[in-house]
Every structure is written in structure tokens, then in C-alpha cells.
């Protein structure tokens, strides 16, 4: 094989990889079970094919657009939960916390007639305060997070009932808030944002290579980097192309096209939290505490503060989930954030590959896992089954999606890479 050997400072011999060697290496890692989010994505594709075959509407532009707002609440709560799970903790109250935050926004908007730019930040601050309380009880009092958040799960249900005056639904009519989950970006802006995203990604990748090369450190071969950029560009641009098609049910009456507003919101948080986890000291410390709390403590990391912070992030993301849920439903009720929302959110993170034992997981997991859950719900909705059968099929399909992942990792275990 053609490898060029360079030597860097410190006498470390470096084998400079080529495109071929890199692909080879990648294949070796895949065979060895280091799969990243491939299996979950594969599961997603399998699911989409199943539903696509069963119902032709599944592959329509309209349905594709539906997926974004349908998955938003679960995806947001799951993104926040990734942080909590990374520490090996759990937040059972995230669902109702999102309900409480949504209700606060709705009440400020309607009963108190405030503007959205007051109500939305208020909801977010509520989320932060909730997270701080939860984290404080867990970190400083040492009560297991399962118990703290079970108590909070009950407590927030009560607060929600009290806020809504004992179970009333509150309808909202603020245009800005309603648009969040229900409207689309203009076609031009859709393309603009997509291009900015792709170009931004390309610049970051190229800059990375350049700065490492300048230090004489090993870099990924340029071919691979370009392939990665191309892959992202294709996915983003194809999705944009589909979403900028006319998809109105009744095109005569009104035109519906453009990327749903929630899509860039999800993307922004995905990038933000991925950056925080991967590129900042804080993120590094979150992984460390989750991987080995004692080692982190010995390294001088303020474990308690990290612990509190993940609950803050968790509840903050839940508050955004709540805002979007209220926007989508045009109203808030005592069950907003209840039912299966919590289990689905934790499930989304876990399906995507986050471990419940801490130390392992990425924010993208939550998005992919949330997509799996949303596709199942969406597809099952098209099938029109009766309730009993619907539950059963949902369970089975969830299992199928998860087992794609499990089989892949199974191989990994066999090669010793667990």
C-alpha cells in the first residue's frame, strides 16, 4: 500500500493516510462495529420503505413536510435528554416540564395579553429554572434522579392543572407563535438557508484540515473530506428541493411550499449542541463525568455543577419542545407533554445510540431516533388501523427498527470492540 511517512515534533512517526487507506480503514471500523449512526439511519430507511410500499402517500412532499412538526416536541426533549443521559441520569419530568412551559407561554399570550417576545423567553426561563431545581436536588442532596424527577413528574402535572384552572384548554392566536410549527419559509429563503448551511459545513471541514495540516498532524485525506461535504450537500439540497414543491391539499385555495420553519430550528440546535459537546471544555467534561465520575472529580472537574447544568439544558430544551407543541396544537391542555411523550423522547435518544448508563451519546442520536419515532407514528397514522392493532404494530415496528441497530452492534461485540 502506498503510504507516505512523515515525522512530526516529538519523534512520533506518522503514517499519512490516503483516500484508499482511509476507506479501507473506515470499512475495517464498520466491520469491527464502530458504526456511529449508520444503523439507526439504516433502520430509518427500512421503515420508510415499509411504509412507502404500504401507502403511496407516505412518499409525498406533504407527508415529508408533516414529519418535521410531528417530530418536533419529541426531538427537542430528546436532544435535551441526551445531556441528562450522558451523565447516566434520567429526567422523567421532561414531558410535563414542556407542558408547564408551554402553558406559561399560552397564559401570558392570552390571559395577560403579552407579546410573543415576552411570552416565549418567559417559557424558556421557566425551563431553565425547572432544570436548575431538579439538578440542585440531584447534585446537592444526592437524591437519585429517578426519584426527583418522578416527584417532579407528579408535581408538574399538578402545576399544569392549576395553571389551566383545573383542566381547561387555552387556545392561542398569536400569529408568530402559531407560525412556528405550522408555517413554512418562503421558497427563496429556504434555498438561501440550505446553501448557507452547506457552505458553512464545507468551510468548517476545510478549515479543520488546513489547521491540522499546518501543525503537521495527521489529517483526513482531502478526497474523503470532499466526499463528506458532497454527501451533506446532496441530502440538504434534495430535501430542500422536495420541500419547495407545491404540496397544498387545495392548491387553488392556497399555496403551501417551502421548508417548514421547525426544520431550521432543529438544525440550529443540533449544530449548537453538537458544537458544545464536541468542541468545548464543557462538553468534554460532560462526557468525562458520564464515563467515570470519580476520575472526573479527581481531574478537578466540578462534578456537581456539571450535573446541575445538564438538567438545565434538558429542561430548557423541553421548554422549546413545549412551545412548539403549543404552537402546533394552537392550544395547551392538561395533557400537553403527557401520555407517551416522555417515553418516546427517552426512546428516541436510546434508539439513536445513547446509553442509559452515561458517557456515550450524541445529539444527532436524538434527531435520528426522533425521526424513527415520528416516521412510525406518521406511517401508522396512514395505515388507519384500529387502536389495538395500531399499538401492537407500533411496538413491532419499533422493535424492527431497533434490531437493525442491535444486529450491527452485535457484530461489534464479537470482534471485541464493545
Amino acid at each position: 500500500m502506498s503510504t507516505t511517512t512523515t515525522t512530526t515534533a516529538g519523534g512520533v512517526k506518522v503514517v499519512k493516510p490516503t483516500v484508499a487507506s482511509h476507506l479501507n480503514d473506515y470499512w475495517g471500523r464498520v466491520r469491527g462495529g464502530d458504526l456511529g449512526s449508520i444503523p439507526a439511519v439504516a433502520g430509518l430507511i427500512v421503515l420508510a420503505l415499509i411504509f412507502g410500499v404500504a401507502r403511496e402517500q407516505f412518499f409525498s412532499a406533504l407527508n415529508f413536510a408533516n414529519l418535521f412538526s410531528q417530530s418536533a416536541q419529541v426531538v427537542f426533549i430528546a436532544m435535551g435528554l441526551v445531556f441528562v443521559l450522558l451523565l447516566g441520569e434520567i429526567d422523567l419530568s421532561a414531558g410535563f416540564a414542556s407542558g408547564v412551559c408551554g402553558a406559561i407561554m399560552a397564559i401570558l399570550l392570552t390571559t395577560h395579553g403579552m407579546a410573543w417576545y415576552v411570552a416565549i423567553p418567559a417559557a424558556m426561563v421557566t425551563g431553565i429554572v425547572i432544570g436548575f431545581l431538579l439538578g440542585f436536588l440531584v447534585a446537592k442532596f444526592g437524591i437519585p434522579s429517578f426519584v426527583v424527577t418522578l416527584a417532579a413528574f407528579l408535581g408538574f402535572q399538578g402545576i399544569l392543572l392549576l395553571l389551566l384552572g383545573g383542566g381547561k384548554n387555552i387556545s392561542i392566536s398569536d400569529e408568530f407563535v402559531l407560525n412556528l410549527a405550522n408555517s413554512n419559509l418562503p421558497v427563496g429563503l429556504s434555498w438561501g438557508i440550505a446553501l448557507v448551511g452547506v457552505i458553512g459545513y464545507a468551510l468548517v471541514q476545510l478549515n479543520n484540515v488546513r489547521s491540522r495540516a499546518a501543525r503537521g498532524l495527521v489529517t483526513d485525506p482531502m478526497g474523503i473530506v470532499l466526499m463528506r461535504i458532497a454527501a451533506l450537500a446532496i441530502v440538504v439540497l434534495v430535501a430542500t428541493a422536495i420541500l419547495t414543491q407545491e404540496r397544498s391539499i387545495n392548491p387553488v385555495l392556497n399555496s403551501v411550499k417551502g421548508v417548514p420553519i421547525v426544520a431550521p430550528i432543529i438544525a440550529v440546535f443540533l449544530v449548537l449542541w453538537t458544537f458544545v459537546l464536541g468542541r468545548t471544555t464543557y462538553g468534554r467534561h460532560v462526557y468525562a463525568v458520564g464515563g467515570n465520575t470519580e476520575a472526573a472529580r479527581r481531574a478537578g472537574i466540578p462534578v456537581d455543577r456539571i450535573r446541575i447544568s445538564v438538567f438545565v439544558i434538558g429542561s430548557f430544551m423541553a421548554s422549546i419542545g413545549g412551545i412548539l407543541a403549543v404552537s402546533r396544537a394552537n392550544s395547551v391542555d392538561p395533557n400537553t407533554g403527557g401520555s407517551n411523550i416522555l417515553l418516546y423522547s427517552v426512546g428516541a435518544a436510546v434508539i439513536g445510540g445513547t446509553s442509559l448508563f452515561g458517557g456515550k451519546g450524541k445529539v444527532i442520536n436524538a434527531v435520528v431516533g426522533g425521526a424513527v419515532i415520528a416516521v412510525i407514528d406518521n406511517g401508522m397514522g396512514l395505515m388507519g388501523l384500529e387502536s389495538g392493532a395500531k399499538y401492537i404494530f407500533t411496538g413491532i415496528i419499533l422493535l424492527i427498527a431497533a434490531s437493525v441497530d442491535a444486529f450491527a452492534r452485535r457484530r461489534a461485540a464479537a470482534t471485541g470492540n464493545r
Partner: protein
């Protein structure tokens, strides 16, 4: 709660004239199936008992059967004289009624009859009738819209709620002949777990994706109706596709004023609550109740249960004002902001 267990030996069951003080226990079912339990019933019952100077312990089981029984156990052991329940299901209902009877406590089935439960009295609206009104309401709206062969989607209540089954029985009795006669086309028909509004949104969105020609929506209550309306709004179809509801909630009435919802069913809960509390107060005071003039046949035991039966009312834009006049919702709640003008328009 003080001093009321001093006379717990007195049998208050069948009109013996024991002490005039005594407590009434009320167990409401949940807050999810309808907002009425927490907002309306609770308020009216409290007011009625307070007015009569009778102590009342009113609790909500939050849809949890286990909690339902635990609350009943607690009420029985704290010595209530009358136990009024809205059962969550036949079995637990019967278990609680039996236990109460063994303890010599008078029992009232409120809103839902417990088959074979042997309650002393029954006060209710007719749930099948509610469904019939919904079905008829939708038919009227579709007729008004001059829809031809409209596709009708049905968004049913919780699959685990027996009342949802009764409502469905009611509206299907109206709609099925239309489907069979070819007047209407049967569209998607799905149940919403736990009456969950968010899930209702997804379910309806998928119904609409599956069949873009949906021209009418039978939603089992106002919350589900609102979820459907949110999706219709997103597709700018609100107001063109009639949606039904139930419970005459503020939200439902506002949707009606907006023209997004075609009708709701108003159950004069105050009347129901007053009727029930009247019975209970009489028993506590040791009198023989006189208001339970009707009877209904227990379908299982075949016995006649003394009953107070009330009739539900269809509410459309034309008679929204009746609900306000009844005091069920206040003008302040209903006519906020943008609705002020519409309220005036509707004569409120």
C-alpha cells in the same frame, strides 16, 4: 372532618333520621376525557354543598382505577354518609359501591350508571344521545355547506374509555345509514389514546394526508375538535370542513364563534350537579329524596334504579349565548380580545 366519626354507627342509608350533620364523598373520574370534571362539576357540587351547609369531600381519581379505589377506601374510613361516584369502569365502580353498601353508606351513580352496582340513585345525561346529537349536528352542517358525497373522518375518543364507545354508538347510528345510502363516504376512522390532543393532531394530519378529500370531521369532544381545526388551519381549510365537538368548552365555543367548528354538545352540568347534590343533601339530612322521579333499568341486574335524567343540547353559533346565559361559561372567559366583536355579533 372533626367529630363526624362520633356517629358512624348511625345508618344513613335508607332515610333513617340520624343526626343532620354528615359528610358527603364525591369521586370524579379524571381530567383528561373532558375538562368538565375539574372545572364544572367540582365547582357546582362544591357550591351546592356549601349552600346547604353540608361537608363534602370531592376528589378526582385522575383516570387511575387504583387511585379511585384508594380514594373510596379513604372516604369510607373517614365516615362519609353518602358516596357519589362517577365510575371509571364497571368493575371498580361495583367494587366501591359494594364496599360502601357493606359499610351502610348511601350511594349515588353520578353521570355514569354502574351496571349491577346497585347504587341507590342515578343522575345523568344520556351518552348515546350525546353521540346522536353530534352525528346530527355534522349532518346539518354538511347539508348547510351543500356538500355532495362528502368524505367524513371520525376522530373517536380514547379506546380505553367506555363513554367514547357510547358516543361512537350514538353518532354512528346517525352516520352509518348515510354511508350505506351512498350520501356520505366513510373516511378514516381512528381512536385517540387517552383523549390526547397532541396525538389527535398527528392522527388527523395523517388522515388528511391519506385522504385529501375529507369534507367533514366527527370529533368526539372539543379538545379533539380543536386539534383537527389546528391541522385544517395549517392547510387553510378551516371553516370549510365542519368539525363537531362536545362539552361546550370555552375553546370549543370560541371555535364556533370563529366559524371553524360547526357545533358542540352542551350538557347543562350545573343542572346535573344540582340534582345530584340535592339527593345527597336530603340523605344527609335524613330526609327521603323526592326528586328522583324517573327510573332506569339496570341492564345487568334488571332492577329499576331511581333516577334523575337530563337532556343534552346542541350548540351552534346561533345559541352560544344560551351557554353563557346559563352561567356555564362567563362572558369574560369567552369574549377575550378578538372574540369581543364576534360575541356581540352572536348576541352575547
Amino acid at each position: 372532618a372533626c367529630g363526624d366519626n362520633s356517629d358512624n354507627a348511625g345508618s344513613a342509608g335508607t332515610g333513617s333520621t340520624a343526626a343532620a350533620t354528615g359528610k358527603v364523598g364525591v369521586i370524579l373520574p379524571d381530567t383528561k376525557s373532558s375538562a368538565r370534571w375539574a372545572t364544572a362539576d367540582l365547582k357546582y357540587l362544591k357550591e351546592a354543598f356549601a349552600a346547604a351547609g353540608v361537608q363534602a369531600d370531592i376528589q378526582n381519581a385522575q383516570g387511575d382505577k387504583t387511585a379511585f379505589q384508594t380514594i373510596a377506601d379513604g372516604m369510607i374510613s373517614s365516615g362519609v354518609k353518602v358516596l357519589m361516584i362517577v365510575n371509571l369502569d364497571d368493575g371498580t365502580g361495583k367494587a366501591v359501591l359494594d364496599k360502601a353498601k357493606r359499610a351502610g353508606i348511601a350511594t349515588i351513580d353520578y353521570d355514569r350508571l354502574t351496571p349491577n352496582g346497585g347504587a341507590d340513585y342515578y343522575v345523568s345525561f344520556d351518552n348515546v344521545k350525546v353521540g346522536e346529537l353530534q352525528g346530527q349536528g355534522l349532518v346539518d352542517c354538511l347539508t348547510e355547506k351543500k356538500a355532495t358525497k362528502p368524505v367524513v373522518a371520525e376522530l373517536n375518543g380514547s379506546p380505553t374509555d367506555n363513554n367514547a364507545t357510547l358516543f361512537k354508538q350514538g353518532y354512528d347510528s346517525v352516520l352509518d345509514p348515510k354511508y350505506q345510502g351512498g350520501e356520505y363516504v366513510k373516511g378514516p376512522d381512528q381512536s385517540v389514546p387517552d383523549w390526547d390532543n397532541a396525538q389527535a393532531g398527528t392522527i388527523f394530519e395523517q388522515m388528511l394526508t391519506q385522504d385529501k378529500n375529507i369534507k367533514g370531521v366527527l370529533a368526539a369532544n372539543d379538545g379533539l375538535g380543536n386539534a383537527a381545526i389546528a391541522v385544517l388551519k395549517k392547510n387553510k381549510l378551516n371553516g370549510q370542513v365542519p368539525v363537531t365537538g362536545q362539552d361546550a368548552t370555552v375553546q370549543g365555543l370560541q371555535n364556533i364563534l370563529n366559524g371553524d367548528q360547526c357545533m358542540t354538545v352542551y350538557k347543562a352540568i350545573k343542572k346535573e350537579a344540582d340534582a345530584a347534590s340535592e339527593l345527597a343533601i336530603a340523605i344527609v339530612k335524613g330526609q327521603k329524596p323526592t326528586t328522583a322521579t324517573g327510573t332506569i333499568k339496570d341492564p345487568k341486574s334488571g332492577k329499576d334504579v331511581p333516577s334523575v335524567l337530563l337532556t343534552p343540547v346542541t350548540i351552534t353559533k346561533a345559541n352560544v349565548k344560551d351557554v353563557v346565559a346559563d352561567g356555564f361559561v362567563t362572558k369574560e372567559e369567552l369574549c377575550t380580545g378578538e372574540f369581543a366583536a364576534k360575541c356581540t355579533e352572536a348576541g352575547i
